[in-house]
């Protein structure tokens, strides 16, 4: 099981739930499980077969640019956060 | 278009002749006609000092000089600071003191610093800051430039 933190802006879709535990081995599966639990959430997180532009995933506070194919391990904490670059 | 003028001048100690239209600046002449691209254009209106050259012993913004004005003049650019392969102390001190980052303002600073140190070799921090305020740098915060100019002054005094 991994713990997925629901972005505050998507709490309307989860009835206020802020985190859930799901069984998944990569982010694609995380999103699929979320969609089963909270219909409509997938299209808020993804654009077609990719994470929505401007979003990235943090797994145990480690950023990944691998998007949906990033692997997750049991016990991981997952956040969806805005992408940032710099100057 | 006005006819081009023939101009005879001295650049970095060597006699030079060139043709230029009256509305071409010395900076354009140096860069585009003579291939001396060391002098940089940062603003083209005298507010950044990146194009500083020495004209008859004084530092000027070459963007605010017409090419035709340098008839019979002596012009010194960044390309003329080093003596063959020997860097001038001000160049050495900029390098050793990391007084440049992107390097675009560096030619102007070197020319102005050399002019200052030739006039005031022991220039204090305030004198350096006052006289080089016409040269903008956006990378260094100026700290290392001031120190490099001070160091160069000392080195020039030692070698004399």
């Amino acid at each position: 099981m991994v713990t997925v933190f629901i972005p505050a802006q998507l709490k309307e879709l989860t009835g206020g739930i802020t985190s859930v535990e799901v069984e998944a081995s990569n982010i694609r599966q995380v999103v699929e499980r979320l969609e089963q639990l909270f219909p409509g959430i997938q299209q808020r997180l993804c654009d077609g077969d990719d994470l929505r532009s401007g979003l990235q995933v943090s797994i145990d506070s480690v950023m990944t640019s691998r998007g949906l194919i990033a692997k997750v391990q049991p016990g991981n904490e997952i956040h969806f956060v805005p992408a940032f670059g710099g100057g | 278009m006005a006819n081009k003028r023939h101009v005879s001048t001295t650049i970095n100690g060597e006699p030079k002749e060139f043709l230029c239209a009256p509305h071409e600046s010395l900076l354009e002449v140096l860069r585009d006609n003579l291939g001396l691209t060391g002098s940089k254009e940062g603003c083209n209106n005298g507010n950044c000092g990146a194009c500083t050259v020495i004209l008859n012993g004084r530092p000027v913004d070459s963007c605010l000089v017409l090419g035709v004005e340098v008839e019979d003049a002596e012009v010194e650019t960044v390309e003329g600071i080093a003596d063959r392969n020997e860097l001038h102390p001000v160049q050495e001190c900029f390098l050793e003191g990391a007084a440049l980052q992107c390097g675009i303002c560096t030619p102007g600073f070197l020319v102005a610093s050399k002019a200052l140190l030739e006039k005031t070799p022991d220039a204090c921090e305030h004198t350096i800051r006052y006289n080089l305020a016409g040269n903008l740098c956006r990378c260094t915060g100026y700290d290392k430039i001031v120190r490099a100019v001070q160091d160069a002054g000392k080195r020039m005094a030692e070698s004399n």
Partner: protein, 757 residues
Amino acid sequence: MIKNNGNGEYRVLGTRPVRHDGADKVTGKAVYTADVQLPGMLRGFILRSPIAHGLIKSIDTSAAKATPGVHAVITSADMPDVGDKIADLGEGAVNLKYLSGNVLAQDKVLYKGHAVAAVAAVDIHVAEEAANKIIVEYEELPSVTWVLDAMQDDAPLLHDDLHTDSMGAKSENPSNICTHMHFEKGNIEDGFAQCDVVVEREFKTASVHQGYIEPHASVGDWNEDGRLRIWTATQGSFSARQQTAEILQIPIGDVVVTPCEIGGGFGGKIAVYLEPLVGMLSKVSGRPVKISMTRADVFEATGPTPGSYMKVKIGATNDGKLIAGEAWLAYDAGGYPGGMIGPGCMCVFSCYDIEHAVVDGYDVCLNKPNTQAYRAPGATQVAFATEQLVDEIAKQIGMCPLEIRQLNAAKEGTVRVDGPKYPPVGLVECLEALEESDHWKSSLDGPLRGRGIAAGFWFGCGLKSCATVTVNHDGTVNLLEGSTDIGGSRTSLAMQLAEVLGITSDDVNPMVGDTDSVGYTDVTGGSRVTFATGLAAYTAGRDLQTQMISRAAEEVWDCSPDEVTLENDGSFTHNGESKTFKELASQLFKHGEPLVARAAVSPENPTNGFGVHVADVEVDPETGKVTVLRYTTIQDAGKAVHPSYVEGQLQGGTVQGIGWALNEEYFYHDNDTVANASFLDYRMPTMLDLPMIDTIIVEAANPDHPYGVRGVGETPIVPPPAALANAIYNATGTRMEQLPMSPPVLWKQLQSESAEA
């Protein structure tokens, strides 16, 4: 000064060699884009919008085309239709329609200076004269340049197809608000209920420009073989290649970008402006074309970084524990969507461990140039707000400003408002270094003098980098990498390679390759080069050593590779026989194939750079002028590879922050056109406006880099406005709620406060 927390002993790291490109840069030989000369090259000039907002009704280029000496005139009609497609540019994604529209306006101009047409001619004067003969008929529209005005329902709408995005959900009605972000942590009501003291203020900051001294410049040559060669002033050659290819709708492989020496960027030379135009002008004219922007073009049509409105509220207990924070932020996006609001939201409370927080952020289109990154984009604005409120709380509860920061400083395990937890970070160490510093211990006497401190944070990113190492006969090496070198990074990379291999920095010849010759490398930005491309150089060095062990085993010592030992100094030993890197490399060169190593890396974690600044000021109450008397910048560099250039980054960023704090701003005429598009009236700091900037480098190792390196370039711009505001408060008792804190503003505020008193 270097404060080493015991990272281990290095031979090369921490020394201060002369940079490899130094001699070229002090003799005028270094080739910047404007210095490029190609046979038959034309010069380009861009016609720009004189108005802030309007529809383009018609463009008549006939007189320009008929001008003797003119070889090409283009408008958006000559550019391919890019459609409505999002392109991922590595550091961020962008809608190509907007990217292309910013390069050359389509049906609308969205800010004064928006490019409308471009001319290529035999010289710059002819090109300019011809461009001025182009007749553009505009239907002028109402315009807006203040972010709160642009958010109103009845504001002039820049894009009638733009709907507010709230994490994938779109607003029903079109709006200038491109994005709404929202973050929550803990329970904000509970949080404020626990507080003994709550402070809240509104702040606003003006648009500021990156202010690099080199104007944007590009040279394009659309070759007869169909390939487009570009020489350009860019922070990222691969990003420039991709943007150019996308805008011109040609295959990426048909574009080769050569990054020239670059005269500063600070985030403002990532977006393309000129590259597609010189490409298209070259295609039309059949000649190479160079365009250099004027300084006015740079101010009016590139950068700036967002102006902002911020309302921030922070609560604490009487013993100084920060409990709750709330922020409402609105940032300029400029003419097209895609601003800096995300990092603004993530950084507003990033220096502190605050249990309950809510942040709302809005990215807003208005009639300014499309805003661009500027050194820690979005973070300086929010630090100006938060760091003042933290001081205000300290004042109210009678706590020292340093102590309240030490009590609440973010550290390993602190959860940011956007969710992730920090790995080991160095804010606590920076605050300790401040406490021990001469500056902090010194007294500051005299009326109207004050001292202020502030902390700052920037992520620092990883992204993709490549490096190739080739070995010469004599055991010296060449390092080919793809990060454009803006401030000496060639040398900081060469030093890391030299450290691995046990050679000197001078034994490495670093070179920045073009997009045909080096592996994909992301932009020089995000404080990433010394960290990420440094990691590539390190990894390539390790690859080389692995190859050499195996070759030495076979060709030199006739043993198994496990019997060859790589020593800490980079030498190789077998059975008591030792060979230095250079000895072994020369020997292998003689008898076998050349040695080539490579690395491609994509480190993904931020490097988390924290800094703390302390400023002493004196205020002239009769004029409102602030003089910076003394300034110290403290920052965690993880490991300072070349301390001089780390200090330089700290000093340069600090001074940009001081300029932002005290004077820099865009002024607008009544019709929303920029009034001060020159270095004269934009007023960046000159040498005479500053004291020496003292630096203290803290080295709290980054666990994600073999030498502990963190990015350092961006954080130093974050604290200065707040530190100076706190110092001004300390000197005068007045709180500054707007940037810049220019003399007229401060004078006026002191006047009205003394009238009230």
